[in-house]
Subunit: 429 residues, 4 copies
């Protein structure tokens, strides 16, 4: 993805990137029934067909309407229906009512996608060099944006399937021979001091990853791997969900009002705890990373364990120089597991394992602008900046995150009570 | 329908009745897309696929499980999922969450229907005489029950379609040459005194229509026809929705909190008021009966007009001796208009017109048990009796009510705030 | 009270009536602390000081402003603050926010009362005969209105006191030697047929008690006394609150959502059930009438007992010819018990006991207008008529109802879920 | 306050400190009526009498019960009633129901206070040296705690008074000759780099102010004074509350749902904007600091002005070396204005004015633990740490903050939507 800007002349490659991302999205919905693509099971969840349409709307509004003077929109009603939150494009259709829409149908949404695809491809084929040069940044953001929605689409589909009386598998579970435990984690020490965070001007990054800046870290240690389900089970069995002393006050209120007793998708069956995965419900594997926990649960676990969660800057400092591509075992969207995997073999001494992929790692850092932050210009100014309140940063990517999104500076963000994303825990101290 | 019990031997006829009703239901869903059959737009509305399944569940629980000792249910989960409200069959799946279910799919529901159909038909084909004799009453209730859901299915589908940004027509609008006004209504006088209400022991009727009993009516007059849309428009234009003096206190609170300014599905477009029908949105026809009003609106209109609404017993007294079959112009489900029609020609002097079909007529009568009311036995005891509180009786049937349900003693019932059924107004004084 | 209109010339008597009622209200608040008079513990409850002020506002708006051209209101803000629900006087201050007002203080409210008292008395002293003649009906309604608020004030004060960690007694409990059981009730038979209901034109009655009209009753029987607490306890112990078969559907939903397990103010202590009275908490007396039950509970009890509740017309028919003054043992406000009393001795054969006083008796009758109902004119048109929906009629008066309100035609009304009034159960069949 | 620990022997001084703080609290309630002390106008607000009791409960639980083996609590029910949020003392009475309690009365609460006062004073008089040494830290925290509640009591009383139809003044408004404008603010530059934050081990500070630690600041500039009401008015008049581009997404949602159009307590009267102060409602003074704004409003104002808010560390760095005692004009509780004051004369060049007192200054910093944070031991571990989520730090103190709480390291904290505290804005860039 990051080479796009430096090879603007290569239209064929631009088209290939566009086709690859758009096709990947459509591949993801093949296992779903039409009915699965319509339902909205909570306000945070969007119907699959909404994701399919919104990602097309994004190209329509931010590329086609700006670069094709005579572009005719597919349907005027989509202007509001598939506007996620851009006030500058007019009032969006209310998010919590997306599941009340039976129309457009899935096949109409697919026609919309292909209408937009054709227009984009015609533009890339036939546009003059200056046009291509001007649209490339927004097109590129549109592709990263669509990849973000690939992850959202799977998170949301999982929630939709889960609400059924007999939750079907999204697809057959791959063989999972491993059910075991993991060795105790190591502590990897870092000296801290004067360090840097954020992305340099080169390469693709979202506006929220910039500018690169200096900061000061106290010495710290990071756990050599993610917290495993078996470890989290020990917290549960030690009555962790019943003891207020481990919890932040707002979290404790939620534990009471929501009746939380375990991570989302865990269920106590006769023989023991099971977990719902995109491959169906099965017994938990004590060695696999715990997943689908809120910040409150991550934080309570850490306090119970006598530790704390890392800040995003501690995490980034530890991850610097690494990328999602290494180690090869990282579990991201394209690797196909769709669930975090147990650590395969001993981690190399001195390097934290599982930094990328598997589960997003909660950090203590508020999602705030970096010093000197400059939002994108125009409509895209609403992409990130206006959400910089009340949310916390998660780092590293998950088993449903496209590989291209795994980089040390990437900042994901959620509210502390949310659990339906693939979020887990790494300890610090 | 009502002949079933007296011709038990005629298995062929039982089967024909069963097939006719079941097929009629499936015919009703042909114009819908799968997406339309999944969505639940408010707690009162059930998804189309839920209606398709629930009516089958009814036969499964009340006929098959009682008459076929070796009947194997299609899916154990359906026991709760498609239980509407029968506590005696265990806790039903929560009504307001029906739209969160993507599964079973529509095609699985159709398979469920056909599975039940086959079992019922096998039973009717092969059961011994005593078995047939015993199951016939419940089967008969099941058919009337399914017809009630035919109306609900259309009411609900209309609401689902209406919530879209561009509400599609359920089906093409039939030619409607008439747009006009109607002559002022007459008043039909009745002497009252000692009269009777309720159904005699003969013929099919629900338990809530019995026993037939004596009561005393004051002299009264009934309007010769339903209130027309043009008349209701005059109420609106006289600021009827803004003047508290016409409204019951609970209704006035709703007018404020819901922002009611007109009947449901009315919308003020540039040129005038339009109404959404199952054939799409179009200008209101001032001559057609007003429809989709709450009791509060019906009552406020009547007070504005210097009149009142009738009681159910006044209505029944006026309707006695008439049936839905006469006059032939009555607008019910099978007549196909799917919307109330203007009165065609002058009504015969001395007889109220439009008593049956077109719109349900709000009455002032609480939905209460008649003196000596005996609920059905067994599970069916929950069919009617437990709802006899907080609701009001409506009489006469609507344009989406199956013809077989039009009889002078039939008691429909809704809460006074509800508007999504085809309910209108007849004046009394 | 009812003699007022026929003795208009007797100004002294008018003044005495006015003073007696106004003083009686103030006597009722003496046992309360200032803090008790400010709090609103649920939207149905009004603070004591609001009652004190609203009853004065009533005289100000309906007598003084109409009969004294130069009357200066005590405080312009009170126009909305102490308007209960009269839209024709402008938008009332929201009912559910009455407890948010710290001002006016109780002493300011008392000053308001005395300001109004002086003005009324000056008017009665000095007004010419025609003025007195014209204001007398509204003044009379104002006195009955204030007596209604005497009951409300005690109901509300009881709820306010009850919400404290250690509910104080409103006043010391009188000696209550009786703790026992009662003999089984008898059934008093009535033939029914053509009967009359409602108040004749003579004497004081509210508009909702008129006109007197004919109706037809089936033969029925009425229990010779109220249901006793010990009997209701048997229902509880038979798991009445856990068995859906006894309950109306809306009531069953409330039992679940509210967690009802007994009447309001009952509490299971170590040794058994206790009840909170205005004299404090004590063990229930099995012989005293059960009190503070909703319609749903009354109805479920009746179904459990194999009976039903009476209609208001059955009750009125049985009570006709009796008045609250007989038998002398009736328990009303002035008798001072402030709690229903066990039946003292055997009831005379053939006459229902406890018809008046003790507890209001739930009936199955909706609070609807009688045929030919004429609301009061002017602002008082909002007094009763606009509440004639969604509520049920209760008959007979309670231990906190002023004696003057006990008459066979009096119609009290509440929503079926409400429990904080002194409401109980009489069986019919 | 901070000398207490080093002069343990001086019992007389301990007693004087205790008496001074306790008396100061009681002095604050003299202007209030009993009714004002009972009402709870929103969940964030506690009744005055609750503050009076809770501050006594704090000494009871944390000093008396630990240091006096034979201490008899005043009332067992108070254990839960006046527990604010300490789960380790058992479940507190629900915060949002404090206003439903009419008992204990205000005079009972005062008796409770004096009971506790006597016990504390007896302990300080008669306790042995070791006892005094051990209780001194908790006593000291209890005094700072009570001072925090002095501010809360006034914030809450202001809200209670404001909800009345004619909000009374808490006390007469002092002469306010000034109504004018202020000169444009200067920018005070700071170099940033390696700095320190937090309190050293010496002197009194809450646990959340420690440990002192190193961090890195970018160069920044701070406005030389607070934002004035006249400046905020320009934002309003530029349609600041109607333009989404200035607002964080969560804030924009609130602007819509709450209908915010100006700071809390501002009201547009005929001639212009007025503000409710503890001295009553009056025209705004354009020169006085804007007050009662949420974080969202502070942030939107800053974005509109082309600036941003400072971080808590920027603020602390600028304030280091200053204290609330200088300059003498600082407006804190004891100075008696009870409202922020216009800047009196030109600020000294190079030094930010109004750092202490007047209004709390919103910062962008989440309320998080400092690196190496150690909560208090025992029950007091719940004092601060469990609230370190979802809230933002405010610095500097307000016109209702006791002087003793003005120090460069003090961290106050509120949710970003809250407005009833005296919070304002200082710009940074």
């Amino acid at each position: 993805m990051t080479v796009l800007l430096s090879e603007l002349e290569d239209r064929a490659q631009l088209i290939r990137s566009f086709e690859r991302v758009r096709t990947q999205t459509e591949d993801l919905v093949h296992p779903l029934e039409i009915e699965d693509m319509v339902v909205q099971t909570m306000p945070d969840v969007s119907p699959t067909k909404w994701h399919l349409a919104h990602t097309s709307w994004f190209f329509e509004k931010l590329v086609l309407e700006r670069s094709c003077p005579d572009y005719a929109p597919f349907d005027e009603n989509f202007n509001a229906l598939f506007n996620s939150y851009y006030q500058s494009f007019g009032a969006p259709f209310p998010r919590d009512r997306r599941g009340l829409l039976s129309r457009p149908t899935v096949s109409e949404v697919m026609a919309y996608r292909h209408y937009v695809d054709s227009a984009i491809k015609a533009l890339l084929d036939e546009g003059d060099v200056e046009t291509i040069r001007q649209l490339a940044p927004a097109l590129n953001i549109g592709l990263h944006h669509e990849q973000q929605h690939q992850e959202l689409l799977l998170m949301d589909a999982k929630h939709v399937l889960s609400q059924n009386a007999a939750p079907p598998a999204y697809r057959d579970q791959k063989t999972r021979p491993h059910v075991g435990s993991v060795a105790a984690h190591d502590w990897i020490p870092f000296e801290g001091g004067r360090v840097h965070a954020g992305c340099s001007p080169d390469g693709f990054a979202f506006d929220n990853e910039r500018p690169r800046h200096t900061l000061h870290l106290q010495p710290f240690e990071l756990a050599s791997r993610l917290v495993a389900s078996g470890e989290f089970l020990a917290f549960i069995e030690d009555r962790g969900y019943e003891r207020s002393e481990f919890w932040l006050a707002d979290g404790w209120d939620l534990v009471q009002s929501e009746g939380w007793r375990a991570p989302l998708y865990w269920e106590l069956a006769g023989k023991g705890w099971t977990v719902l995965t995109l491959g169906g419900r099965r017994a938990i594997d004590p060695a696999e990373p715990v997943c689908h926990v809120s910040y409150y649960e991550a934080d309570a676990y850490a306090r119970w364990a006598g530790c704390r969660l890392p800040s995003e800057f501690e995490w980034e400092h530890a991850a610097e120089g690494h990328t999602g591509q290494q180690p090869p075992s990282a579990t991201y969207l394209e690797s196909g597991a769709l669930h975090p995997l147990p650590l395969d073999g001993a981690a190399p001494t001195g390097t934290p394992a599982q930094l990328f992929g598997d589960v997003w790692e909660w950090t203590t850092s508020p999602y705030s602008p970096y010093p000197g932050y400059e939002p994108y210009g125009g409509h895209l100014g609403e992409y990130n900046g206006k959400f910089m309140i009340n949310q916390l940063v998660l780092r590293g990517g998950s088993c449903v995150t496209p590989r291209a999104h795994m980089r040390p500076t990437y900042r994901n963000f959620y509210y502390p009570h949310q659990r339906w994303m693939f979020a887990g825990v790494r300890l610090a101290r």
